[in-house]
Subunit: 339 residues, 2 copies
């Protein structure tokens, strides 16, 4: 851990006690950092011929997760959201750092947080390599590092007219999961199993790393759905200089979402954030081989000459965002965001 | 910039408007990222035969910098503190990410912040490659990346009995500078020039990157002084398994510090944080050649068989910290840390 500024009491002992497990999450010897926690910085050895992929994500209490939360869940969700950006680049994880700002050192909070962090790190085979623990209003900063063979990173800018638009799995789970996280009234038809599914999808999302690897050399562009399908489709359209056409009836919804009215479910599939599914463009000739490896992917539209995002809900395509892209001017944040 | 969660209004336009300059700070073509701001993650190409160095530093309002501050200064100081960890590893900068959490989007604050960020990035030849802008209590998270030829990183653990203990320049400036930053009464003898010097040293510290490069193949261990000389010397002693002996009379103070009483100055040199000078161990045979390249370095003690940090103030060595190292159980934080 670096030594910048005053830190929570006993930074070193904190780290040793709580973060040891996350630091050794990916146990394969070749995935361990050359030098991990405890020096001024961590040392990593990318493999020859690889480019380095780096992304930073911040999670703020009351903005990215509700005030009523489990520390283990916040850790899991925060790291998974960051790793999702590696998946979206077609990268394999190298390691991550954690910038943890917290109001006080509550031992049970820390133990719970560290447990969720280690679980997520193990599930995604990524090691904690360093970070900084400071005192202040709760703030979780994750920086993830990955590697990808030179020239093979999945960008947002390569989509071509004629490509298929595909998604890595069900949409809208983030929106429904948020209802549970916020203790909103739930529909009567929702089974306990479906409830658990949505809770998991919200608090323990899985970054689609295997799909990202499978998309190398196949997808022409990719990103992860964190702002919502329409918003992220607009990013792809804008970066690639193409029009994205989406067919509403093709959007895959998990069975759990059937408990809500059609309109609610449709809005979540289109606009809810935090699904962490990969959205990508694929030449039609690549579809069959990809589907055999990744059976959960779905074709939800196609790319055409033009610009913007077009949605066909059964009455022909309607423009939902122009060439400058979609931006969330009124973010549907989780809980109050006014602290 | 990554797309995790709701962000400050118009994240993309914010980035384009304010952070363009910091993204192009190090203008040499080979130092530009392969892919910078605007995708899910940034892509960097480390040179062959290099290891990757990564460090994360958080700056919290009221903890790491006082409530009365200029946004440009906070940006400069925060980035420089993070880059100092690269210097301490003997690394050259590759790029950095910024996780910026701020309560609202005040255009003048952002413009001021971006100016300081760009200035620091230029001064240290490091480019902004990505980040995340979110809403919440002010929090600055810097993650810096650098590279160092494989096996040449300066660690904390290589110091040997018989090595000299050296420092990269004057000590205690951080303590005196904090007095100015907190609007504390100043001694009558402090000239305007000296005031400016201390203000610069506090708000615009320079990471000792050139010194770090010069220490490759020479120093046996190194770190940067951010917690205070005694505390950081304890880290070196503990990591290397040696005793660190410091001679109080050898400690270099800048002329500006002469305006304060001896006891105050001595305490700052020993205990004040945020000096960002490199502290390193050096075999005596390497001293002469290093001094010709880096004339500001000073020998302040030596390493001996044993453990802990020993201070000789003229009456023989006294043990100031045991083998488990020094930890700031009562951090001398800048301003209130109770928000």
């Amino acid at each position: 851990m670096s030594q910048g500024g005053p830190s929570v009491v006993g930074e070193f002992s904190l780290i040793r006690r709580y973060f040891q497990q996350a630091a050794l999450a990916a146990a394969a010897p070749d995935s361990l950092p050359v030098l991990g926690i405890g020096d001024d910085a961590a040392l990593l050895q990318p493999a020859p011929g690889q480019q380095l992929v780096i992304s930073t994500d911040t999670q703020v209490l009351g903005v990215h997760f509700p005030h009523r939360y489990q520390a283990a869940d916040a850790a899991y969700r925060g790291l998974a959201a960051a790793v999702s950006d590696l998946a979206a680049m077609g990268a394999e994880p190298l390691g991550f750092t954690l910038a943890l700002t917290l109001p006080d050192t509550a031992a049970d909070w820390m133990a719970d947080f560290a447990e969720g962090l280690a679980q997520c790190a193990q599930d995604h085979r990524i090691n904690l390599v360093g970070g900084d623990t400071t005192r202040g209003p709760l703030n979780l900063g994750f920086t993830v590092l990955g590697q990808v063979p030179t020239g093979q990173a999945l960008r947002r800018s390569g989509a071509q007219a004629g490509d298929l638009l595909c998604v890595g799995g069900s949409l809208g789970d983030g929106g429904a999961g948020l209802q549970l996280a916020l203790d909103q009234p739930l529909p009567a038809g929702l089974s306990r199993h479906q409830r658990d599914y949505l809770q998991q999808r919200f608090w323990r999302p899985q970054a689609q790393l295997a799909l990202g690897l499978a998309l190398r050399g196949r997808a022409t562009a990719a990103l992860d759905i964190s702002d919502g399908l329409l918003a992220d489709a607009a990013h792809l359209a804008h970066a690639s200089g193409v029009a994205v056409h989406i067919e509403q009836l093709s959007l895959p919804a998990a069975p759990a979402l059937k408990a809500w009215p059609d309109n609610t479910r449709n809005q979540w599939m289109l606009r809810a954030g935090d699904d962490y599914r990969l959205l990508f463009s694929l030449p039609p000739a690549k579809l069959a081989s990809l589907q055999t490896e990744q059976p959960d992917i779905r074709v939800i539209g196609q790319l055409q000459v033009g610009q913007g995002v077009w949605l066909d809900s059964g009455q022909g395509p309607q423009l939902v965002s122009g060439p400058s892209g979609y931006q969330h001017f009124s973010p549907s944040s989780a809980g109050a965001a006014d602290d």
